[in-house]
């Protein structure tokens, strides 16, 4: 016993010493200390505690402290108030054209050229990405937060859209192969009939829909996917002619809502999901009540984390590439895209001097050594390098990585999430930037339940489950990145259409099957009043420009 604790103590000392060494090796900037105020829409993480080790290091080595302004809900409104008051912090978390259109951001291409070799290399590696980062006025305002991949894509987890189903449902019926929407609802209905309540007595919910605030896109996004189109959001681009149309009232949409209507009649659709807010939606998922949703994984990962922490892995959801007909080839998973107009920009109100200091910091934190601190932690204490030179975790370390409290003290998640970051591999065929995307650690970090599922379906990850080799993206893709400016007639038309579907689709879904046609006609009539052709013409113009600039359809 005594010897054991001695060894433990020695190990701890060794870990601390190697930590100290690693810290010493971190690149530093010898620039005056600065406080950067940051506006972020990322409400997934709390304001970091004082003793967070990474923020301490950033302060010590890079001379930077942060002042956070986190938009918790009603993001667009908060941004609207900021723009109306022309009152901006130094760094603005861009997620729409609002800040850029309002002239709130500073052109960055010049600063990147002069002061930021890392950022320059990172964003200019792919000339098309760099060209797309330029706005209509020829300036770069936004440092993309995701989708700028170096040395090959490594991500094996699936963050994107899918028809999700509770893992327990698949297990119950011996992991059947499910491809069509009819099979999907069928198996959910069977499971629900068998298990009307969860283990702790809450009623199970067949299918839930997130309809709150801007998340409501989940209500109208499924039809194109089910018909085999990629994620163009509100519309469908004809792959042959390149012609765009809003998909809200297309034949695919009618087919989908007719199915939902029938499922509601069977009691599978959660009626409350049309009045629930985001928290209520997540709570139902985190209770393990929900058997199926259409969503994008990043929207409900917090609910899954809660279940993982309680070791209730079977009650989490897994993605399925569901389509209408067996003959349709699914296109749910797409190749990673530069996440245009999403990421940090520097406020135009910040002095040039401070902007230079900020861009130097952004550049410094993109150094591989710093990126490793953000995503791997420190060697010895958070991972070890095994005999093959691969990063792996000891079981204790792995448990810690899943511990939200540990993470809040030892990682800079709030900063890293929307900051410019390295994705892919450090070097060609080298290690992956995300600790768990390295093959050994990836295998070791999977829950046994998931491994069982992978084995049953002969895949190695959920991403593979969705699509092993997604086709390359056409140059115009995706249409959802083209957004008309605020205050324009096109935007007004679009907002109206969104309000209309939020109001009418619940009626369509909840109607008695006999009234479906009537409610549907009413919905189409209401949509026709919204002047959507204005919006369609705007998107078409944007797509045509992209096709002219970056090549044809394929």
């Amino acid at each position: 016993m005594k010897r054991l604790s001695l060894i433990a103590a020695l190990l701890a000392i060794a870990a601390t010493m190697s930590l100290a060494q690693a810290v010493d090796k971190l690149p530093t900037t010898k620039l005056p200390p600065v406080e950067i105020s940051v506006f972020t829409i990322n409400a997934n993480f709390p304001i970091p505690p004082e003793d967070n080790r990474v923020y301490k290091l950033i302060k010590e080595k890079l001379g930077v402290t942060f002042k956070w302004d986190i938009a918790v809900a009603e993001v667009d409104q908060k941004i609207g108030v900021m723009i109306a008051g022309q009152d901006y912090p130094d760094l603005l978390d861009i997620n729409s054209p609002k800040f850029i259109d309002a002239g709130a951001c500073m052109p960055l291409e010049d600063l990147i050229e002069k002061y930021a070799p890392n950022l320059k290399r990172h964003y200019q590696a792919d000339p098309i990405t760099w060209a797309k980062m330029h706005e209509k006025d020829g300036h770069v305002y936004c440092l993309l937060n995701y989708g700028v991949i170096e040395n090959g894509y490594t991500d094996q987890s699936y963050w994107g859209p899918a028809m999700f189903i509770q893992k327990a449902v698949m297990k119950e019926f011996g992991f059947p192969k499910i491809t069509t929407i009819d099979e999907y609802f069928d198996i959910i209905a069977k499971y629900k009939a068998k298990h009307p309540t969860t283990a702790d007595g809450k009623p199970t919910i067949g299918f839930s829909i997130l309809t709150y605030d801007w998340h409501r896109f989940d209500l109208c996004n499924p039809p194109p996917f089910l018909a085999g189109y990629p994620n163009d959001g509100d519309g469908i681009v004809d792959p042959k002619t390149g012609k765009y149309r809003v998909q809200y009232y297309g034949p695919e949409a009618k087919r989908w809502y007719k199915i939902l209507n029938a499922m509601n009649d069977k009691g599978l659709v959660d009626r409350e999901s049309f009045v629930d807010n985001y928290d209520q939606y997540l709570a139902k998922l985190a209770n393990g009540q929900v058997l199926g949703v259409h969503d994008q994984y990043w929207q409900f990962q917090e609910a899954s984390k809660t279940l993982f922490a309680q070791k209730r892995v079977w009650e989490t959801l897994m993605p399925l590439p569901i389509v209408f007909d067996k003959s349709t080839k699914p296109h749910w998973r797409d190749m990673p895209l530069p996440n245009l107009q999403r990421g940090y920009g520097i406020s135009a109100k910040t002095s040039r001097e401070k902007a230079i200091r900020i861009i130097q910091f952004l550049d410094a934190q993109l150094d591989p050594a710093w990126q490793k601190v953000f995503t791997w932690g420190f060697e010895g204490s958070d991972y070890i390098i095994d005999k093959d030179g691969q990063p792996v975790c000891t079981p204790e370390q792995r448990t810690r990585w899943d511990d939200v409290t540990w993470r809040s003290h030892n990682l800079a998640e709030l900063w890293w999430y929307d900051a410019p970051k390295l994705e892919g591999r450090f070097t060609k065929n080298g290690q992956a930037h995300a600790l768990r995307n390295n093959p050994k650690e990836y295998q070791a970090s999977q829950y046994p339940e998931d491994v069982e599922i992978f084995k049953a379906y002969g895949v190695s990850s959920y991403a593979e489950m969705m699509d092993k080799n997604p086709p390359p993206n056409p140059a115009w893709y995706p249409a959802w990145q083209i957004v008309p400016p605020d205050g324009s007639a096109e935007k007004l038309a679009f907002t109206k259409a969104q309000d209309t579907y939020a109001k009418d689709l619940p009626k369509v879904i909840l109607a008695k099957p006999a009234d479906f046609e009537k409610e549907w006609a009413n919905y189409v009539d209401d949509l026709k009043k919204c002047n959507l052709q204005l919006f369609e013409a705007y998107i078409q113009k944007g797509l045509d420009e992209r096709m002219a600039k970056f090549g044809k359809l394929k």
């Binding site: 409104q77 108030v81 049309f274 007004l492």
Partner: protein
């Protein structure tokens, strides 16, 4: 004639001099009103521009374009209807319930019971609307108290999602408002009642008046001036149906009955960055409010009642 004309300003200055302390004391208030009520009116110019924050007030002038848009927009008409309807419901409920409760409280003889009832009734006033909205939405959920009671009474068979019933929304707002504000609103009536001469009650009692006749013939006429003044003041707010409660309880399904002018202004102005349209909407509301206030005041004067201005 001429001496009067010269004397008047002199009299004014003299009076000003004698009341200089009062004048000095009112200076901060006047400045406050100018700064926060009149200076922002300059922002109304946005309603006549295609306002872009980047350009500020140098944005191009477009005349009545946004007003024309407003009145040709079906949504704005709906929003006006909702605002007036919810306002009217609130007004009627507020008056009847508050006066009713005040009359009842006045009849309670036990002082301790009376003040306890009064305190409990006005406690909800101090709750934030966010809390109230949370309470209301969980009470109205399909497994909430409201559905349980209705089911138990046999009024409904299947639980309903009440917040998804558009037509129920106005009444939800009306009754929530009553619950939250009724106690608070009685205070002023109770104060008015306490200033009625007790001799009147005694005389009435001797003349053989019962409780209800005393209420009708003494208490109510006694607080009539208060009621009229409050009514005039409230008519000036008829375009303000409240904002928080609708904002917090609205959702896709009930939006046709939930959106008030204020919500319209926030969604189109702040969220969608159409500041000009929002200003036009807000401006229209203010102008209607002023007209209503003036009319109510004038009518009240004609009827020989209290006038506010």
């Amino acid at each position: 004639m001429s001496s009067v004309a010269i004397n008047r300003p002199a009299g004014f200055w003299k009076r000003l001099l004698t009341q200089r302390q009062l004048v000095l004391m009112s200076v901060p208030i006047v400045l406050y009103v100018i700064l926060f009520t009149y200076v922002p009116l300059a922002g109304w110019t946005m309603a006549f521009q295609d306002f872009k924050p980047a350009k500020g007030f140098a944005s191009p002038w477009v005349g009545w374009k946004w007003f024309q848009y407003l009145f040709s927009d079906d949504l704005f008409v709906t929003v006006m209807r909702n605002t007036l309807a919810m306002s009217f419901i609130n007004l009627v409920f507020n008056f009847t319930f508050a006066i009713g409760l005040a009359l009842l409280l006045n009849e309670v003889k036990n002082k301790w019971v009376k003040s306890l009832a009064q305190t409990i009734s006005y406690l909800p006033h101090f709750l934030s609307w966010v809390v109230v909205a949370g309470l209301v939405s969980s009470m109205l959920a399909s497994d909430g108290v409201f559905n349980v009671i209705l089911k138990w009474l046999g009024i409904i068979k299947e639980p309903k999602v009440w917040l998804g019933e558009p037509k129920a929304f106005w009444w939800i707002v009306g009754f929530t408002n009553v619950w939250k504000e009724v106690g608070w609103n009685t205070i002023i009536y109770l104060a008015a009642i306490s200033s009625i001469d007790p001799a009147l009650y005694e005389a009435a009692q001797i003349d053989g008046c019962g409780r209800f006749s005393r209420m009708r013939h003494i208490t109510l006429p006694g607080i009539k001036p208060t009621i009229v003044v409050l009514l005039i003041m409230n008519l000036g707010w008829i375009m303000e149906s409240g904002f928080e409660i609708q904002y917090l309880l609205k959702n896709g399904m009930n939006q046709d009955y939930a959106q008030s002018i204020d919500i319209y202004v926030v969604t189109y102005g702040l969220r969608n960055g159409n500041y000009s349209l929002a200003t036009a909407g807000g401006m229209f509301k203010s102008v209607v409010n002023i007209i209503l206030l003036m009319t109510a005041n004038w009518v009240s004067g004609k009827l020989g009642e209290e006038k506010l201005v």
